[in-house]
Every structure is written in structure tokens, then in C-alpha cells.
Amino acid sequence: MDGRLANRWRLTVNEKKFIETALASNLRIDGRNPLEYRKIIIKFGREDGSSEVQLGQTHVMGFVTGQLVQPYQDRQNEGMLLIFTEFSPMAGPSFDPGHPGESAVELGRIVDRGLRDSRAVDTESLCVLSGKLVWAIRIDLHIVDNGGNLIDAANIAALAALLTFRRPECTLGGDDGQEVIVHPPEEREPLPLIVHHLPVAITFAFLGSEGKLVVDPTHSEEAVMAGRLIATVNANGDICAIQKAGGEGVPQSAIMHCLQLASMCAISITKKINSAVEAYSTERALRKIKRHPTVAGNVSVAGSDVKEQNKTVEQVGGSELSRHHIERLKVVSEETCSSRSNDNDGDIKSSEQGGTSRGESKAMNFLGGPSNWYGASTFQYFF
């Protein structure tokens, strides 16, 4: 919380009056203007599919995990998407550890509707064996600090976690082709989820008797607001969901205005999410490079560095050449990895790229002497 000692859900008359008076001159109590978003910071954990989002004082963490389960009877070819929210009592004194309150359920439903109804996550690609085994993707949202506007922050956390989540690859094997083999990450590179677009939730609060509009309300603004509208839109301008639960009546013109503002905000938020995810994916791919102690200098992604090493390796001699081949392969497979993660639109070509890079990534995991020869001999036809 804001440096305040009491997270009061209903503020004093004085505070309410001042918030409304300030809004009459287009000022908000934290100095923003009415249509401005707070600063968004997106961070990721060590594991794939864990994200941490800070929206001003609001702090939400998202975790995505996957599990193989039996599909629903009426959807035998589709995977499942499950969303669970946990409102930690450290987020605010109004949150009970046990059962979720009304706002917790509402938050879960809004995030769920935005992802499911707009078919943002491709559930058909999650099917492994039709009618028997599908992937169930579970999103856990933990509210760590409530500084207002939990829904937007939770939505961004869910999207960031979904984009960085990697599920193990499964192949069908066995005598009748009905046995499912789940490959561990050391054997085969885990695959990202296919996410077609990013539905971003934008919350609008209506304050005062004239229903003045503010975007991204803080906790005190939420305590004095007369009504709230949450619009989930994506960067293409498609409306994925709208939620207005109770509160003051709002004219139709105000709703249309909100939707227009929402699509503009969604474009900038989508850009922030994508750049954060890209930075994480590049860093993740860099982590996978195994550095050989024998070759002079470090292996790096930039093409120019590899060319320099070409010269030094040729000077060293023939026995080093095999390791040089493997370095070249690492750079190639790493480039395909990072370009694969850029395919957020979920084209089929992403799975094809996955096929070729998987073969090359086998070379990446070799550690010592004799296996170098295996790598070199297999790929000699490249050179």
C-alpha cells in the first residue's frame, strides 16, 4: 500500500470531495492526467511462464503450468485453460486468506473471458491424443499488493506468463501409435504456446455526479468511484470483452468513448508486453549457449564475432574445426529460437521451424570430446 497504514475501503468525505474537485480541473491526486496510465514494469522469473507485473503500487505475479489430462466430453480435440486467483492478505486488509471475495471472483472471470472467448490461446494445438490426452494450461494469479486496478495488472501478468511459458514436447509412439512420450527439456526443446493475439484489459472509473472518466484508477479513486467499466481489447482494435457490473448508469456515448480510448491504450500496452517478452526470450536463448573453454574468446550471438573466430580457429588447426562447426550450429539454432519466439501470431510455420531447430539443438547439448565427432560428422554436408 501507498505508505498508508489503513487500507480503508471507504474514504472520508473530505478525501472524496477533494478527489472530485481536483478532477474538475483535470487533476488526479497522484499528479497524472485523467487518461494517463501508471508506469508498467514487467519482470520474469527463472522458470518459464512466471511473470511479475508492477502497475504503480499494484503488484501481481502470474504463473503458468501445464499438465496432461483427459479432455471434456464435448470438446475432445481441445486443451483446457484454467485460471486461478489468489488474493494474498498482504495485498490489503480486506482480503481473507480462505475463500475468495466478490472482487476476486470478478477478476478471475474477466481475465478468463478475455482469453477464452476471444480464442487468444489456441486450444486445438494443445491436443495430444484426441479424446484421451490434452494439455491443461493453468494460470495462477497472485495478488501481492493492491494499489488499485488489480484487473489490468493481473491481465498483463497472465499474458506475459503465457507468452514465456514452454510446454514439453510430446510425440506419439508405441506399437499402435497410442502411447504418448513426453520429452524432458534436456532431450527436446520445450515449445511455446500458440497465442494469436493479446487481449488487454483497460479499466475506466466514473467519478463524481457527472461521471467524469479516469483510466487506471488508484486505490483511493476506486474507493470513491461511482461506477467502473472494464473493456478488454487487443491491438487490432477487436473488442474481446466488456464488463460493467453495477454502479452509476453511463450513457452510450460515454461507452463508445471508453472503447476508443481502450484501443489506443491497448496498442501501447501490447508493445510493452511484447518488448519485455522479447528481451526475456533473447536472454533465455543466450543462457542455453554452452561456452567451450578451448576456443579463444567467447561465443556470442553477433555474426561478426563468429567470423573473427573463424580466422583464429583456422590458425589453430584441423582438430579444432569440429568444435567450430558446433559453434556455427549453436548460433544458427539460437537465431531460430529467438525468431520462433517472435511468432506470437501462432502461424503453422512456427512448428516447422521448431522441427528443424530441434534437430540442430541436439548438437547444442553435447558436452565433451567424443560426441563432438558425432556432431561434426552428421553435419559435415553443410560445409
Binding site: G3, R4, L5, N14, F18, A22, S25, L27, D30
Partner: protein
């Protein structure tokens, strides 16, 4: 029950106490409120007082009330005080001056 409040000083006289009208009341830590009430004026209030005119009432319970002619000044003062929670004297002065400069440039 209808409570009635009256504000008097120790000898029972009114002495400028009374209901606080308008303005904005916010909360801070009790340590900060003690610093705001300290005898050589606290650096953040001094820096703000040089450029802005405002009225302030600080309670030892951590409640601060600020009032001024325009809401923008009230917001500036409130945010400056809330930001000076963990800053030393010199840092407070610098923070307040930076905030004032930013407002003047807009």
C-alpha cells in the same frame, strides 16, 4: 447516538481550532508527522513554502491536512510530503525542488 465534537485548547478556549473545511487529508507514518512538526522547519516544508502558499495541519497520529487556493498546489504539496518518507534532509530539499521545477516547466 449523535456524537458532538468541539475543539478547544488546554484552557477550554477556541484558539483557532475548529473544523477543517475543504483541502485534502492523507495519511503518512507517525515518524514522518513528527518530523513535519519538528522545530527548525522540516526541509521539505521549507522548500515548498518558499515557492507555494498553502495551509497545513499535521497530527501526531499520522494524518496530514493540506489546503490551498488551487487543487494543483494541494496535490504537489501532498505528493512531496508522501515522497519524503524515507529521504534525509538534503534529499528532501532536492526532491521538492525538482518537483517544483517540473511544475513550473509545464
Amino acid at each position: 447516538m449523535n456524537p458532538e465534537l468541539s475543539c478547544t485548547d488546554a484552557s477550554g478556549k477556541a484558539a483557532e481550532f475548529g473544523a477543517l473545511k475543504d483541502g485534502y487529508m492523507f495519511e503518512c507514518s507517525t515518524g514522518l508527522s513528527r518530523m513535519l512538526l519538528s522545530s527548525p522547519t522540516c526541509p521539505v516544508l521549507e522548500a515548498l513554502g518558499k515557492k507555494l502558499s498553502f495551509e497545513i495541519a499535521v497530527g501526531l497520529n499520522g494524518r496530514v491536512w493540506v489546503n490551498s487556493n488551487s487543487p494543483s498546489i494541494v496535490i504537489i504539496v501532498a505528493n512531496a510530503i508522501m515522497n519524503s518518507e524515507s529521504l534525509s534532509g538534503v534529499q528532501q530539499k532536492i526532491m521538492a525542488e525538482k518537483l517544483l521545477q517540473k511544475i513550473q516547466n509545464d
